[in-house]
Assembly symmetry: C2
Homo-oligomer: 194 residues x 2
């Protein structure tokens, strides 16, 4: 399975394509950073990111897109721009019918380094090791995009199974409730049943 990882941002948007193989084997297909000029207006910055991401989707044909989930913890203004960049990426994926999953930074760090609190250097080092890269992808956003794609490849089968199990449990609960309601109605109105 091929995954496009995206570390969204208006100034620098990291893109990384990773192929998953048997077991935990992963291979780097492409990695780069899209930049948009800070003095351009928001709409044109989003357009620049959207166009480039669509170009990557056409060129590399990923089966899924993994985007970093943003939290407005530090700088709210930056977080808004980051959320918007992630939004246009999700939109481009939805237009092509590609599944999009958002992963938190700690999920990504935990997936590649074993610790949700790993620092940038540790994440970059693990990305290099896992993908057999001789040089570190620069800037950090590029390495983060690859880490996101790896995280997705490793987490997704588990996440999908969990979601399926939850859906089954919810369906069983619904059926059970409907039966209870029918039984209660029947007890109240025994004549209505034939």
């Amino acid at each position: 399975m091929r995954v496009l990882g995206v570390d969204p941002g208006l100034t620098r948007c990291g893109l990384g394509v990773v192929d998953g193989g048997k077991g935990r084997a992963v291979r780097c297909v492409a990695v780069d950073v899209v930049r948009t000029p800070p003095d351009a207006d928001l709409a044109h910055r989003l357009l620049g990111i959207s166009d480039e991401v669509e170009r990557w989707m056409d060129k590399y044909k990923p089966a899924a897109v993994a985007v970093e989930r943003v939290f407005a913890q530090h700088n709210v203004r930056t977080a808004m721009g980051t959320a918007q960049a992630g939004g246009v990426v999700a939109l481009a994926a939805a237009r092509r019918g590609l599944p999009v999953v958002f992963h938190t930074p700690s999920e990504v760090k935990a997936a590649v380094s074993g610790s949700g609190r790993a620092d940038k250097a540790q994440v970059t080092a693990m990305v290099m090791r896992l993908l057999n890269l001789e040089v570190a992808p620069k800037p950090a956003d590029a390495a983060d995009a690859l880490a996101l794609a790896i995280c997705h490849l490793w987490r997704e089968p588990m996440r999908a199974r969990l979601a399926e199990a939850e859906a089954r449990a919810a369906e069983m609960a619904r059926t059970h409730k409907a039966r209870l309601a029918a039984a209660a109605k029947q007890a109240k109105n025994p004549g209505a049943a034939r």
Copy 2:
């Protein structure tokens, strides 16, 4: 000039088209709310909004798009979704070469009611009065979208003139600085000049 006002949101996204006439005359062309199901995934909600906004742009052919500027003041999670909805609207406008301007809620309130702290009821009442509407546009997001379009029609000429004046002033400052630098260089190195 025809303006599409957008009060962005994932659950309810207000859309309003207003024509500006001579002076302060304004006319309501269309108003509605796009809803996306809260249990759908983010990418598909954004796609739903984007598709509907593009349909409106094709149908009503506005000359500009006015979007509410979002602040992460109350609920950060909601604000992120709102920012993303606004982002895909800005993207759709940029794809069509339409100018997009973001107005803050207080700019919009001040434009239609004279007070930046007007409440929802006051904004709705003024929107009805200014557009000669017999019934209040519902929900409030629809009225807000119309208020945004009116705000844009009234503010934009002033904003554009101000931006032009600022650009001229910046250009003059640049020219002046360049002359100063040249004079300083000349004073240091009189032989270099011919």
